[in-house]
């Protein structure tokens, strides 16, 4: 078929290819259902961005897009691209402004049906204890620049050293919550200043803290390995590197744009600006990105700890009774150096995942020992009214998508359209009717983030499931949400 002048052919039920043409260095590949093409993909410029990404120097195999694909800056959201570390580039547009925006899942030993009547109080207490919204300060005092730099190096370990969680949490965090190439000297003073009082803050917009229960289990073996059972109360935290990360992205977009003449790249989109990974500029950006990633992991670690304390306070239980444990923490905006097999040869590549989640299979060395028998959890939040999912990474992900899967639902309506559709409605009542208790800084946020503004995440997850990239483990139903 042809969409806005782009030829696209069907490879399998949910896999499509944009043939290599013009200055594209590789073909494009999009995971999506026909329905997704009919209802959303054809309505924006995301496919054009898949084509644009295929121009990146050193790109390997394909410019990829996951089924939550939609229009982004440079890369589409849902975009994945791997570049050779020796002669390829790194691109801030392939990571995004919110570096290491990601999701953390924690479990409890509590059953929803036994504690339904406490959810309202729990939401109220979480809203009080977890800093949300713009301008909210952290649960910890404003840090000094030198202490903030410590976080940039240590990541989630800083939080643990300061009483937020336990050492074993690091085992269940992607990269153990700490990327090694983080040098704070690559981060501007401006970025540090933006982060001084944002450690341990949720942020606003589509960031949230959600209380779910396990409504359905699809894979008993994986669910049991992850410590999940039906009716279980879980917590999902979605946030990233806050202002520090945004500033780093902005700083390096400028640095790399200024350096373009030196590299002489012919790129179809300014927001794909990039530098050879081996160049000083490329190394500096990668280092700064690692710093921001570590800041985000620290952030989610602190918020999880605050959540645990709030659970204890609300349910008046001990740690043993509560059984609060981290299941896993994934990033969905990041660039990582990974080894992948390409044309039968093992190669080190820089995998950009922008609105995409790592999905490593059984026996992968980079996943917790406890999970090696089943694979890595893939955490996929939906909108706040319907469902979120836990999937597990499969071997096919390594073969086809550089070990990547989808990350969420993706918007189908603008904030303005969402607000128009919400006009005159009692949103809190609507959410309550669907069993969700919400507290947010303002009704505007709730209106903008209503379920009707998002794709049905079930459809997104199903595409990955049926293609064998990541398969469903459990479906979660939200019952409480706090938003900034």
């Amino acid at each position: 078929m042809n969409i806005k002048g782009i030829e696209i052919k069907k490879i399998s039920e949910n896999l499509w290819e944009i043939p290599q043409s013009g200055d594209m260095l590789v073909p494009g590949r999009v995971y999506a259902s026909q329905n997704m093409f009919d209802t959303s993909i054809q309505n924006d410029e995301a496919l054009k961005q898949v084509v644009n990404v295929a121009h990146l120097p050193g790109i390997q195999k394909y410019s990829l897009a996951m089924p939550d694909i939609h229009w982004g800056y440079g890369f589409p959201i849902g975009g994945v691209a791997a570049t050779d570390i020796n002669d390829g580039v790194i691109s801030p547009g392939g990571v995004g402004y919110d570096i290491n925006c990601g999701v953390r899942l924690a479990r409890t030993s509590l059953e929803y049906s036994s504690h339904k009547n406490r959810i309202s109080k729990l939401v109220e207490n979480l809203f009080r204890n977890v800093p949300t919204g713009i301008g909210s300060s952290g649960a910890i005092k404003k840090l000094s620049p030198s202490e903030t730099k410590n976080i940039l190096v240590k990541g989630a370990r800083w939080a643990i050293e300061n009483g937020f969680g336990k050492e074993t949490d690091l085992n269940f965090t992607e990269e153990n919550g700490e990327l090694q190439n983080a040098d704070p000297n690559s981060v501007s003073i401006r970025a540090i200043e933006r982060g001084l009082d944002q450690a341990g803050t949720l942020g606003s917009g589509n960031h949230f803290l959600e209380i779910d229960f396990v409504e359905e289990i699809f894979d008993e073996d994986a669910a049991s390995t992850f410590g999940l059972f039906k009716n279980q109360l879980l917590i999902l935290i979605h946030t990233g590197s806050r202002g520090l990360g945004y500033q780093i992205c902005d700083d390096y977009l400028q640095v790399l744009m200024k350096a373009q003449n030196k590299f002489n790249f012919k790129l179809p989109d300014k927001q794909l600006t990039c530098a050879p990974l081996k160049s000083q500029e490329g190394q500096d950006y990668f280092s700064a990105m690692c710093c921001a990633a570590n800041f985000a992991w620290n952030n989610r670690q602190i918020i999880m700890s605050l959540t645990q304390k709030t659970f204890k306070e609300t349910f008046k239980m001990s740690d043993d009774e509560l059984g609060f444990e981290l299941v896993y923490d994934v990033s969905h905006n990041i660039a990582k150096i990974e080894d992948h097999e390409i044309d039968g040869v093992k190669k080190s590549v820089c995998v950009h995942r922008k609105g995409a989640t790592r999905a490593f299979p059984i026996n992968s060395k980079n996943i917790p020992e406890k999970y090696k028998s089943v694979g890595q959890p893939v955490l996929i939040p939906g909108d706040m009214g319907r469902y979120s999912y836990i999937s597990v990474g499969k071997e096919k992900a390594l073969q086809e998508t550089f070990g990547s899967s989808c990350h969420g639902a993706g918007r189908i309506k603008s904030r303005h359209q969402a607000m128009l559709q919400s006009k005159g409605k009692n949103l809190l009542e609507e959410l309550n009717k669907s069993g969700v208790i919400i507290q947010a800084r303002g009704m505007k946020t709730i209106a903008e983030e209503m379920p009707h503004a998002y794709k049905n995440v079930s459809e997104v997850v199903d595409v990955m499931h049926f293609e064998g990239i990541s398969t469903k483990v459990a479906k979660l139903k939200p019952v409480g949400v706090i938003k900034g």
Binding site: Y73, E193, G205, Y246, Q247, M257, K258, R415, K444
Partner: protein, 142 residues
Amino acid sequence: MPYKFIDHIADIAVEVSADNLEELFKVSCTAWRIAAVQSKNSFSNDCREIYFQAESLEELLVNLLNELNFLLYSDLWVFNSVSSLSIFTDENKYFNLTANISGEYFSKDVHHFKEEIKATTYHQLKIEKRNNLYSTTIVFDI
């Protein structure tokens, strides 16, 4: 209308236009302000001087708007208006901007955050002059 907010699937987009470049930049600041903060009875009692240099007008505009961003989210200083702004090209063909801006410190009694703007992007940002009118589209990542 010098600025018009347009629909965007995920972020905030605004079309701005003006008779001259300086006015275009001022209108862009106004549009940013409307997107970021709501306030009542605000007083611009604090003035700041700013200066930027860039290789393109688009980069200059992004620098200016991201400075307002930084002042708001780091210093909790709310931009209100531009009292003077000038743009000139130097002998190296770089674009230079000097401006005096006024504003005040954030107060919960007066100000209310609207959207958290991560940054002004380069998406669709192209300053053009047609029929004696300068215009561009600005997308704020939120």
